[in-house]
């Protein structure tokens, strides 16, 4: 990484065109238009430094109301019992677990973008990484609500699920996938928060330095942990960032694999499937990118960051969406193949029932949203036109929620003994919790946009054309003149 000059919070002077010589293979610039360090500081920090707009207030009043609905339904469930939901016997898990897996899936994109793309030197990630990471943290917060309230006695669950030493020597059951979930999700949540916060430090310092009001200065000052922008600080910072990236990378793969164990480890046909871990991870990345795209389209528009989050970024995200869509589609097919090939009558029935049973509508909604419609993204124009790509990413969000619903509910509602087959019908509390959790998520996103830079200022400065010194950080010789601005062009 080479941020030495670029990331100083008080850069002076304009970087003039030191862009590389033209080449047909030169990737498009990551920041378009006339941007310099100062304009970046100004543009990106503007939402945090100006008075909230009318539109922001309108948005947060809607999402805040929905978050209120969530809190109400939460309290209602705790006060009355799970009976307020549509769950029954045999469908012991319904929308709550669907929502849990849905939100955990959303939470995948952030860490993937921040950590894996970072390690793979995908420099275009800078424009969306911060936002995606914030989204991860908020999605995990939303996800965590559900396993807790879906228990019958949450007041006991929240500490009995932890392996706390106690006088009775009763321990948690280490064989239970639900316990693995507790570990996996809490680790993922903690690491995501720390990774995100570490990345925020230079920008918090920028905000501190730019702050005019003393209270504001004080708060950002505390939050920036005395960041000075010194070489020493940068050096530590980069090491820490790299470390977190390394730490988060396996977590991206592990958390959803472990979540998938909730199902894969059971004996229920439709759940008991070895393909689940990779299938869930691919699905999570798929839904995560779709959610990033869904939100960032608004963000870049309202905060006038189109030149930083460019169509190029949208294009690249859409390529990942179509790649993961194919993976998910492959998983759908392979499940059917194995059900047929394995020859287990229960398994076979479970999948026939999934596609043609009472919940066939949900299954085909899932297939069309996740596999059929995303194929339009093969077309370059669709990938790059907000009006065209937007419906598709919305459908992917819908489809991925249905995927979890299909897995949870259709497998449970008809399992081994036909005598216990039943139907699941959600109640208004189920609906309130789901819609409310979206409200909670968006409220957190809006607050984030208000108080923190939605795009990493420091990192973006580093990808500005000409922000790179001619030499590699470790002085390992000259880089070819044509390459420094391209993604992955600099060493670290």
């Amino acid at each position: 990484m080479s941020r030495d000059g670029a990331a100083s919070t008080t850069t002076t002077g304009t970087i003039t065109g030191t862009a590389a010589a033209a080449s047909t293979l030169t990737p498009p610039p990551l920041v378009t238009g006339k941007a310099d360090f100062q304009s970046l500081d100004r543009d990106i920090n503007r939402p945090a430094e100006s008075f909230p707009t009318h539109r922001w207030w309108m948005a947060i009043s809607v999402t805040g109301t929905l978050a209120g609905v969530f809190l109400f339904c939460f309290a209602y469930t705790v006060a009355r019992g799970i009976g307020t939901w549509g769950n029954n016997n045999p469908v012991g898990w319904g929308w709550a677990i669907t929502n849990f897996v849905f939100w955990i899936g959303i939470g995948h994109a952030g860490t993937l973008i921040s950590a894996i793309l970072f390690l793979l030197r995908q420099r275009w990630r800078t424009a969306i990484a911060r936002f995606a990471e914030a989204m991860t943290v908020f999605a995990v917060i939303c996800a965590l609500q559900f396993p807790l309230i879906h228990t019958g006695r949450p007041w006991l669950a929240f500490y009995w699920l932890l392996p706390l030493p106690n006088a009775n020597n009763i321990w948690v059951n280490f064989r239970s996938p639900l316990l693995w979930d507790v570990f996996a999700v809490s680790t993922y949540g903690l690491v995501s928060v720390m990774f995100w916060y570490t990345g925020l430090l230079p920008d918090l310092a920028t905000l501190r330095d730019r702050a005019k009001h003393p209270v504001r200065k004080l708060i950002y000052g505390i939050l920036s942990l005395g960041w000075s922008g010194s070489n020493r600080a940068w050096s530590h910072y980069e090491k820490a960032y790299l470390l977190f990236a390394g730490l988060s990378t396996p977590l991206v793969l592990s958390v959803h694999s472990v979540v998938s164990f909730d199902f894969a480890v059971s004996v229920i046909p439709g759940w008991h499937t070895t393909v689940f871990p990779p299938y869930f991870v691919a699905g999570a990345i798929f839904s995560g990118f779709a959610m990033v795209a869904t939100l960032i389209v608004f963000m870049r528009k309202f905060f006038h960051l189109e030149h930083i989050v460019t169509k190029e970024h949208l294009d690249l995200m859409n390529r990942i969406i179509i790649a993961t869509s194919l993976m998910v589609g492959y998983a759908y097919l392979i499940e059917f193949f194995i059900a047929w090939y394995g020859g287990v009558v229960y398994e076979r029935f479970a999948f026939i029932n999934r596609a043609f049973g009472p919940y066939a509508w949900a299954y085909w909604t899932m297939v069309s949203c996740n596999v059929i419609f995303p194929q339009l993204l093969w077309i370059r124009k669709v990938r790059r036109t907000v009006g065209l790509l937007y419906p598709i990413v919305i459908l992917v969000n819908v489809g991925m929620w249905f995927e979890r619903f299909v897995i949870v509910v259709t497998s449970l509602h008809r399992d081994y003994l036909p005598s216990s087959w039943d139907h699941f019908t959600p109640t208004w509390v189920d609906a309130g919790l789901f819609v409310g959790s979206i409200g909670l998520f968006l409220t957190l996103i809006l607050l984030f946009c208000r108080f923190l830079p939605a795009v990493s200022v420091a990192e973006t400065k580093a990808v500005l054309p000409g922000s790179h010194p001619k030499h590699h950080h470790h002085g390992q010789g000259h880089a070819p003149a044509a390459t420094p601005t391209g993604p992955g062009g600099t060493g670290g």
Partner: protein, 1052 residues
């Protein structure tokens, strides 16, 4: 207490848990209703209580206080100790160990058949009803209604004191009002049930003698009057025919639901099951009986049939006649019958086989006719039975039936219409179940109406004086179920409320009218004394010292033994004449063959659990699924799928039933197996003034019974509602709730069955119905060598699917009812359920019943997934649920392949809690579960431990059969066997090792500890039955082949 026991004159003898009750034991005076010794009585205020001579004893007070104290401390929701004085016992009364159960022998007097009860009391409070093992009719088993009647004892809606026109009065006022009116009256009508015992009949006679203006009439809305009347005619004596099914090889039911609601069902199930239970070690298919069922609706009996023909009720009579003619050698009427009713090929084959069987099994066959069939048909049935030599062999004669002959409703109506000065109703509810006509105006011409009953029901609400009756468990009574046998009913708790039993009221009124009567004087207004005197001077005369004889009878619950007299000779001429009328009267094919597509025949049966509605206050019975349709909380009009299609209705659509100008709207229930052109429904629902539980549940169909019809069979019009009518209806559809929605096995090996022929050709045929690949155990096996390992075996051949086990489990384990709305979303709480699977022809399916409960798997899928270790394996092989530890993730329930775990979605116990008196019904040995907790079958771990600890203290091993879970204990078919799998001699091991044994979903390698014995049906070899083919993979239906094969390949 010592002085008491020495001076007490008598006792409620208890049946000790072991049979070691000491004869001549110093009597205990711990039950109300007993006269107390002079010494103690003197110290008591005699005037303070209306039952002056029958006051509560000091011991009762102590018992009640102990019970309340326990409840106050341990009851749910009580966090404050009540402020009250509690007298500490310096020395514990003999036999009263806190927390130790005492058992009393008694008789169930609520139902139509007087079964023996063994009542478990804990700290003075009855908590569970069980069957009395020595009783010849129920032999230790129990029916759902019998088990449920414990709830009506603690029913908070019971009438708690006498009332006059709604105002509370005391008993003296009530008595004087009645006796004054009786003295003045010129006409008195006493209306009672048919089930009066000998002492009750005696007091009724004395009452009639003391009050010459009085007339006694017997009212039962559902009765076997035509059958009994036919028997009277054809056998020349009043009495009843008692089937001895255990001796029968061929059983033919002509619309007789003898395994469901018709007759002494527990006795009949027991006898029938005995002919269907095979020796597990060497199953001999020749030992099986064969059951032919020709019926209009789809009943429990029909679901157990080897051959079943759905037929309209009107065709049953002609069929009986045709069969009789055919047996006599004249096949022509049968041929005519076939043509007239367009019988299917299968039905014709079945009739042919039936005739063959009847001819071949002289003296070992029996034909039973349904109680609702007309008189003439019963004459035909009697002739048929004569033809096959049944009387004296498979049929016994009871010259003194336990029930009185009933009076026709129209005669009662006529008596009432003439006007009566005093009308006394004892335990009947005609305002609810009056068969048709103007029920509201029924009492219009009665000056003083006196109603005696448990609740302020429809009839009591219409009476001037509403008098509360004592519950069965608070009453003294007797019954004579069989000739030579008299059983006693004794109270096991002091009356909870200010109530008095009906017989005692009658006794007091009679005493007031006839003060000079010596015997009544001796009883001094105390029913207990009267009853005891009668016994000591009658039944027990010559049985030794009167007091000891009485106590022995109380301990045993009965005196004498059943002596079956010879069968009276058939008066053939009378029978022929009657049968001819019957065949002619109902012979014409009904109008469905004609032009009117809406003409139907209606068959009204009593509800399988609520009976005629008298048990409608018992929530357990409302939530006990119908044995066939699995319907809960409602009744409906059951129609065949073909009928439904013709009428254009689906389940829950309203249909209109019209009869004699009366219209009733019922929701339709589509039930495969019901004969086309027939609509069946049940009586017992639609109570308007029954307690909270029963009110507004289902529909009262009594109006359709028809005033002039003694049975419950009528020509009705059935049609879908017109659009206008439908719009006028509040809800376009009615929600019918079934606890089971899918009835197909989907070709899965769940209920394994085979035919006797298969078994004869291949003794291991059951094992060939499915194939399980070699299963590997990756983990270490549990080590059970240190003690017992519990397991169960269920004989599907014996189980008839009555559902008694479900209610027994509910009573034993404090399982809450959840109500219709919760059942509708699939949240019923039963730990054991009966699953029904249909196979074959949609119009006449073959039905299988299968009890399903926790299989206590060794590799339990529920155990590994619980994150908090709330469900764990015990060293005795039980899968245990630790309620305290459970946080309710429901993962265990999801992962249970049998779906037997039940979650408390709400605090169900609290939701239905209306009064503290309800708390008394809980079994203190079982935790009452809170909200958010998972629960399931424990194999009645409290019973296991009770026996185990007791025997351990005595230094003994647990013998096989000493521990019985509640389900096994109640099961009238003896289909459930529990025991120690480590004991090679135990019954459960012998059954599990049988060639007939299999385990459900064994291929999952969950290692269940409940073995099922396959159901071996016994179809006649002449009848072509589609899929009893046998051999590998031909279990049931075409897809079974797939199922079995696929298991072989895949496993799971």
């Amino acid at each position: 207490m010592n002085s008491l026991s020495a001076g007490a004159d008598d006792g409620a003898a208890r049946e000790q848990e072991s049979e070691s009750a000491r004869p001549g034991l110093p009597s205990r005076d711990d039950v109300a209703g007993l006269p107390v010794p002079e010494a103690t009585a003197a110290g008591r205020s005699a005037a303070a209580h209306p039952n002056a001579s029958c006051t509560t004893t000091r011991r009762d007070v102590l018992k009640l206080m102990a019970a309340s104290a326990i409840l106050a401390v341990g009851g749910p929701g009580c966090d404050r100790k009540p402020y009250r004085q509690i007298v500490g016992m310096h020395e514990s009364p003999e036999y009263q160990h806190p927390g130790a159960a005492l058992y009393y022998a008694s008789t169930w007097t609520d139902g139509a058949v007087p079964y023996g009860m063994k009542i478990k009391t804990l700290d003075g409070r009855p908590i569970k009803i069980e069957g009395l093992p020595d009783h010849p009719l129920n032999r230790g088993t129990a029916s759902a209604a019998m088990l449920g009647s414990i709830l009506s004892l603690y029913d908070p809606e019971r009438l708690r004191g006498p009332r006059r026109e709604g105002k509370e009065i005391n008993w003296e006022e009530a008595d004087s009002a009645v006796t004054d009116a009786l003295r003045r009256a010129s006409s008195v009508l006493l209306l009672t049930r048919a089930t009066l015992g000998p002492s009750e009949r005696a007091i009724v006679e004395r009452f009639l003698a003391a009050c010459p203006a009085a007339r006694h009439m017997v009212y039962e809305p559902l009765n076997d009057a035509p059958r009994r009347s036919a028997w009277r005619t054809v056998y020349g004596a009043d009495g009843e025919v008692w089937p001895r099914l255990s001796r029968a090889k061929v059983i033919v039911s002509l619309d007789a639901d003898f395994l469901g609601v018709d007759g002494a069902v527990l006795d009949q199930i027991g006898d029938f099951a005995a002919t269907r239970r095979l020796d597990p070690a060497a199953p001999d298919p020749k030992a099986l009986s064969r059951l032919y069922v020709i019926e209009s609706g789809m009943t429990v009996t029909g679901s157990n049939a080897d051959h079943r023909i759905p037929l309209k009720p009107s065709a049953i009579g002609p069929l009986a006649e045709a069969l009789r003619a055919a047996l006599a050698g004249n096949e022509q009427p049968l041929a005519a019958f076939r043509d007239a009713h367009r019988l299917s090929t299968e039905a014709q084959e079945i009739l042919g086989a039936l005739l063959k069987d009847l001819r071949a099994h002289e003296g070992r066959a029996v034909v039973l006719g349904g109680a609702h069939l007309p008189e003439g048909v019963h004459a035909s049935v009697a002739l048929l039975n004569q033809e096959i030599g049944a009387p004296g062999k498979t049929l016994a004669w009871n010259p003194a039936p336990a029930t009185l002959p009933v009076d026709a409703p129209e005669e009662i109506a006529a008596a009432l219409a003439k006007g009566v000065d005093v009308l006394v109703t004892l335990g009947v509810n005609p305002i609810y179940d009056w068969p048709g006509g103007d029920r509201d105006g029924l009492f219009a011409k009665a000056d003083l109406t006196v109603g005696h009953g448990l609740h302020l029901d429809e009839t009591l609400a219409a009476c001037t004086l509403a008098l509360p009756s004592c519950h069965n468990l608070e009453s003294w009574n007797d019954r004579a179920p069989l000739p030579g046998l008299t059983t006693l009913c004794q109270p096991v708790i002091a009356p909870l409320f200010d109530s008095r039993q009906e017989a005692e009221s009658l006794l007091r009124w009679t005493s007031a009218l006839a003060p000079e009567d010596e015997e009544l004087k001796k009883a001094a207004g105390c029913w207990h004394d009267y009853l005891k005197n009668r016994w000591q001077n009658g039944t027990l005369a010559g049985a030794g010292e009167p007091q000891l004889a009485w106590e022995a009878a109380l301990r045993k619950g009965m005196a004498g033994s059943a002596a079956i007299p010879a069968f009276p000779a058939l008066r053939r001429n009378e029978a022929e004449q009657l049968a001819a009328i019957g065949a002619a009267g109902s012979g014409a094919p009904s109008a469905t063959h004609g032009t009117d597509a809406n003409a139907f025949e209606l068959a009204i049966q009593p509800h399988h659990a609520l009976w005629d509605g008298r048990f409608a206050s018992i929530g357990w019975l409302h939530e006990l699924p119908d044995p066939v349709s699995r319907l809960v909380w409602d009744n409906a009009a059951s129609i065949a799928p073909a009928t439904a299609e013709r009428l254009g209705v689906t389940e829950g659509d309203w249909v209109a039933l019209e009869h004699a100008g009366r219209v009733l709207r019922l929701p339709a229930l589509v039930q495969p197996g019901v004969a086309d052109g027939v609509v069946t429904t049940t009586l017992g629902h639609g109570r308007s003034a029954s307690p909270v539980v029963g009110t507004g549940r289902g529909f009262n169909v009594a109006a359709l019974l028809g005033a002039g019809i003694t049975g419950h069979l009528a020509q009705v019009t059935l049609r879908a509602l017109t659009p206008a009518e439908r719009e006028a209806q509040e809800a376009p559809r009615f929600q019918l709730v079934r606890t089971q929605k899918a009835f197909s096995q989907q070709g899965r090996p769940i209920v394994i069955h085979a035919s006797a022929k298969d078994l004869a050709t291949d003794p291991a045929c059951v094992k060939h119905r499915f194939h399980i690949p070699e299963l590997k155990q990756l983990d270490n096996d549990w080590d059970y060598s240190g003690g017992p390992k519990w397991g169960m075996a269920i004989d599907l051949g014996a189980c008839v699917g009555c559902g008694a086990c479900v209610t027994a489990c509910q009573a034993e384990n404090n399982i809450p009812i959840v109500g219709k709305e919760e059942c509708a979303v699939g949240r019923e709480m039963h730990w054991i359920r009966i699953d029904r699977y249909d196979e074959g022809d949609g119009a006449n399916p073959r039905v299988h019943q299968q009890p399903m409960l926790c299989q206590h798997c060794d590799n339990a899928p529920c155990e590994s997934v619980c994150p908090v270790n709330a469900t764990a394996h015990s060293h005795e092989g039980l899968n245990e649920q630790v309620y305290n530890r459970c946080v309710g993730t429901r993962y265990c329930a999801n992962n249970c392949p049998y779906k037997v775990r039940r979650f408390n979605f709400y605090n169900y116990t609290k939701r239905l809690h209306k009064d503290t008196v309800q708390e008394l019904a809980y079994n203190p040995q079982v935790t009452v579960r809170s909200r958010g907790v998972m629960e399931k079958c424990t194999f009645c771990v409290q019973r296991i431990n009770e026996v185990k600890f007791k025997l351990k203290n005595e230094g003994r091993e647990v013998p096989d059969g000493a521990i019985q879970p509640a389900c096994q204990q109640a099961c009238p078919a003896g289909a459930i066997v529990f025991g120690n799998l480590n004991d090679p001699e135990s019954r459960v091991v012998r059954m599990g090792g049988s060639n007939l044994a299999y385990k459900v979903l064994e291929e999952l390698n969950v290692r269940p500890n409940v073995a099922y014995l396959a159901r071996i049906a016994n179809p006649h070899p002449d009848v072509h039955v589609e899929d009893y083919g046998g051999g590998h993979g031909h279990g049931g239906g075409s897809s079974d082949a797939d199922a079995a094969d696929e298991h072989g390949k895949g496993g799971h």
